[in-house]
């Protein structure tokens, strides 16, 4: 197992992403930051806090659970969904920034787009991912990327975040290799 990103590198990547979002959006107006649980939601909160600090306005973070929209439910034991909290006034006309920790096959994002569709009609949807590890199975790309990490398909990339896992780090290990915690 190797460490790919340490806490400081993660922090810098998130700050850069936050600036890129603000730049592309020409400010924070109409922005809705929506994280995909579990760790996408954590990253969304951090990004929203960054943007709030930079712009001096209150930008909240939301969560969108996509379990119900997955295309692989029948292949796994039953998954229990996490809470979904979206803007009370809906998302019509908003610029939604989806946030996830790792972008891999693209299927989770596909599910998220379907879920968003049932919440309303945003003006635009952007995607921010901390890690892009390639091996896309669908035509999906991220607008904001923390780090590109080419990997073999059978390698395991793990993102740990302090709010959930006591430490901030991104590691890679070979298939079947035991993870040290």
């Amino acid at each position: 197992m190797r460490t790919l990103l340490q806490a400081s590198e993660i922090s810098r990547a998130l700050i850069r992403i936050s600036h890129e979002i603000i730049e592309a959006n020409k400010g924070s107006g109409g922005l809705v930051i929506v994280g995909i649980p579990t760790r996408g939601a954590i990253l969304a909160r951090r990004i929203a806090e960054n943007i709030s600090r930079i712009e001096g306005t209150e930008v909240p973070a939301f969560t969108l659970d996509v379990t119900m929209y997955r295309d692989d439910l029948a292949k796994h034991p039953t998954r229990v969904p996490q809470p979904t909290v979206m803007p009370p006034d809906g998302i019509d006309g908003a610029t939604v920034v989806l946030v996830d920790d790792v972008l891999f096959s693209g299927r989770t994002v596909r599910a998220a787009l379907d879920a968003l569709n049932d919440h309303g009609r945003p003006r635009a949807v952007r995607l921010a991912a901390l890690i892009d590890r390639g091996h896309r199975e669908l035509p999906i790309r991220a607008d904001y990327i923390g780090k590109n990490l080419p990997s073999a398909k059978n390698e395991r990339i793990s993102v740990r975040l302090v709010e959930q896992d006591d430490v901030d780090e991104v590691t890679i290990s070979a298939e079947g290799e035991r993870e040290e915690r």
């Binding site: 119900m68 229990v80 969904p81 979206m86 569709n117 049932d118 919440h119």
Partner: protein
Amino acid sequence: MRHLLDTRTLAREDALRILDTAEDMAATQQREVRKLPTLRGKTVVNLFYEDSTRTRISFEAAAKRLSADVINFSAKGSSVSKGESLKDTAQTLQAIGADGVVIRHPASGAPERLARSGWIEAGVLNAGDGTHEHPTQALLDAFTMRRRLFGEAASRGRDLDGMSVVIVGDLAHSRVARSNLWLLNTLGANVTFVAPETLQPYGARDWPVTVRHSLDEAIREDQPDVIMMLRIQSERMHAAFFPNEREYARNWGLDDARLAQLPERALVMHPGPMNRGLEISSAAADSDRSTVLEQVANGVSVRMAALYLLLSGERTEHA
């Protein structure tokens, strides 16, 4: 979860999982598009051997909101009423590819027979069997209590520890009373049964429940958080369970006087349909402590959760 047949054997963590998933289902009902694609392509059959429009449309709504295809099979006018056996009906459903079967049947144990017989591979959900169990009713009742007690935002993961629930009515013949008793005990609540001796279940003396014959005493002694009134059928009158409706209402009806005696926070619940003026007064039924209407809405959420947990994951042998 391969089948949902009863609450007697439903483990606490499974019960909480259903209730918490129901929270997510309820949340979708606040959105613009109140439908989820999760059970798209799955077929749910409502196999109803007893007339019950209310429960059937609740299950139908639940299945459709998960994008499942619904087939309604009611006993009247079907080959069942002409004597087709449960086994043959089951095998017909298997042949047309039912993924889930929601069954309501007048014979206790029929869902269990369906689930264990090997006639079908579908998941079986008990929508009420004889006087045995009605698990989704108990689950939606518990969901309702939880939400009222803790509020929508803070219900997730909570149980009903220490709550006092009084159930009144024809308990001897009530599957709702039984399912509620087992589930409430699992979730940490204390249950009291109130009814004349003729309407108490024979086994209640050995069950984890306090048996009382006086409703006034129950309200006074137990200071209940919830009072649940069950429907009285006038057929019971003819079989000598109690002399007449007037005597029943006077002793065991939730009238305005008893409503005033309840603690402020107490909920008034009824699974429906109600006999206004018999087991429950109109004032009680319409008061803001009454949860009758939200029980109906919550029923759809709970049934969505049950269908999702039964039908979405990989199907294993383990029940």
